[in-house]
Amino acid sequence: MLTKEEQLWRKQRLEQIKKWEQHCPWEDFIDDEKILHLLEAKKQPDKKEVLAIIEKAKENASTGAMLSPEDVATLANTTDPELWEAIFETAYWIKNKVYGNRIVLFSPLYISSPCVNNCAYCGFRQSNEAVITKTLSMEELEEEIKVLTDMGQKRLIVVYGEHPQSDCKFMCKSIEKIYSIKNGKGEIRRVNVNAAPLFVDEYKEIKNVGIGTYQVFQETYHHPTYKKMHPANTLKGQYKWRQFALHRALEAGIDDVAIGVLFGLYDWRFELLGLLYHALSLEKEFGVGPHTISYPRLEQAVNTPLTVNSPYLVSDEDFKKLVAIIRLMCPYTGSILTAREAPALRDELIKKGGVSQMDAGTRIAVGGYTEMQKKHIPDKQQFMIQDTRSLDEFIYDLCKQGYLPSFCTACYREGRTGDNFMPLAKHATVKNFCIGNGILTFKEYLLDYASPKVKEIGEKQVIPNYLKWLETNIPKAAKQVKLLLQMEEQGKRDQHL
């Protein structure tokens, strides 16, 4: 039950949102009928057509072009297992072509869970009395950051509920606090944000505290489902407001934005096309596509029946397909696979889905990192997570498979943002930075945080392998990285290209 103050805050904000929607300068880019028609029309794809799309996707990896809606509908309807193997191989090939064989690591940090919305699928919905919500104090936030930096984390996605306690001012204050904390050699160098849509002036305030990426997930692009999931009198009930959340962020000058869908609310094929139309709209209006795409799958949440009985729950097999299609569809984008998924599936998807960013050692209860020693805390979580490996265990598994674990945060601190970042990703040259910075940040991890077995494999296999790659491909950068590695060994930190 919302308090009077919360109700008033919501009412006033809702009025402002509705006013904005009345004067929205952009046209709704989701035509439900058109998407459904497209999916129907491509129901039985021709093998040659699928192979041609796969070839086109490979070519697009060097040009930054995206697949067309027709192409994506065709891939989504493909059933031939042989063709699927070709799609999976291509997803991996594209990811390596653009980003190299590194996996960027991050942690989500839930800062506040009280929320004035009442979304049918969310454990934090205001009517769910079975979940205890909480907003971190600055002292508690500092404790969380200490635990995260002690693990070796350098980059976060901070998560806030939509609530007066966690408004734009609070978000700025908490992000500034995070950046200010030094913990020995540890620090957080990049804070990405996952929060509610804001007004342009609010985004400007958030931009000024130096965030990385601003994420807003549409959850579902399908209008009737959106309406069903998000009650009309709530802030999240306003489809258009959310649909153009990132257009407003770009208008405010935040030029790294991220999109996503909560898979399981509606047909995954439809949602893939929704993501594509969203990316195309951002490109059309601002010339900058999504920095990352996320594809969380509906997971069980306390006292939230929809999370287990939705008719659109996505099977593991379909999940693999949709992750791979995202990579083919939008080759330049970062692809985020979270610890919601089980370890074996995550490991498989690095190869089959072209995933580029992952979290590890994750806790999703507010204050959960300081309670690390305890088990997961279902009555304080938005949903359940399945991959409970520690960061070090996860890194070891990556190393065993030959990947380069990376804590890189260099691009946004070296001015490679927005228009300066996109050409690197679109022309598949960003890996030339990714590998060098991956080596340097992994070395820091090995020096300061790694277990003996990770140190062993990291120093003897992973770093030499990737230095060799750099020497072969960018000798000038390899020379610089070797010098910077020596400086790290002498105690210097935060060395990057």
Partner: protein, 89 residues
């Protein structure tokens, strides 16, 4: 903002050609973030040299500079950044 970006892009081009640099770009300083504004040149995939011009503006340079060129470039850029700050350009 658009006009400022045009001025910065022009300046970046001038510097690139004058000092035979591979790439020059200007950024807005926002805490840890260096927010790209405008630039010119080809990426060389090495660590760029950062010169902080004011509390809000920095320039990143890729390419070799002699010490004399370095001094000359700074002498050229500091008044330029001051004018930007004062909104004179």
């Amino acid at each position: 903002m658009q006009k400022l970006k045009q001025i910065l892009a022009q300046k970046a081009k001038e510097l690139c050609l004058k000092y035979k640099l591979e790439k020059v770009y200007f950024t807005q300083i926002l805490g840890k973030r260096s927010h790209f504004l405008a630039g010119y040149g080809q990426e060389s995939f090495v660590r760029p040299k950062k010169i902080t011009l004011s509390d809000q503006l920095a320039v990143f340079i890729e390419g070799e500079l002699t010490p004399a060129q370095n001094t000359s470039l700074k002498q050229e850029l500091i008044p330029f950044a001051q004018k930007i700050k004062e909104g004179l350009l």
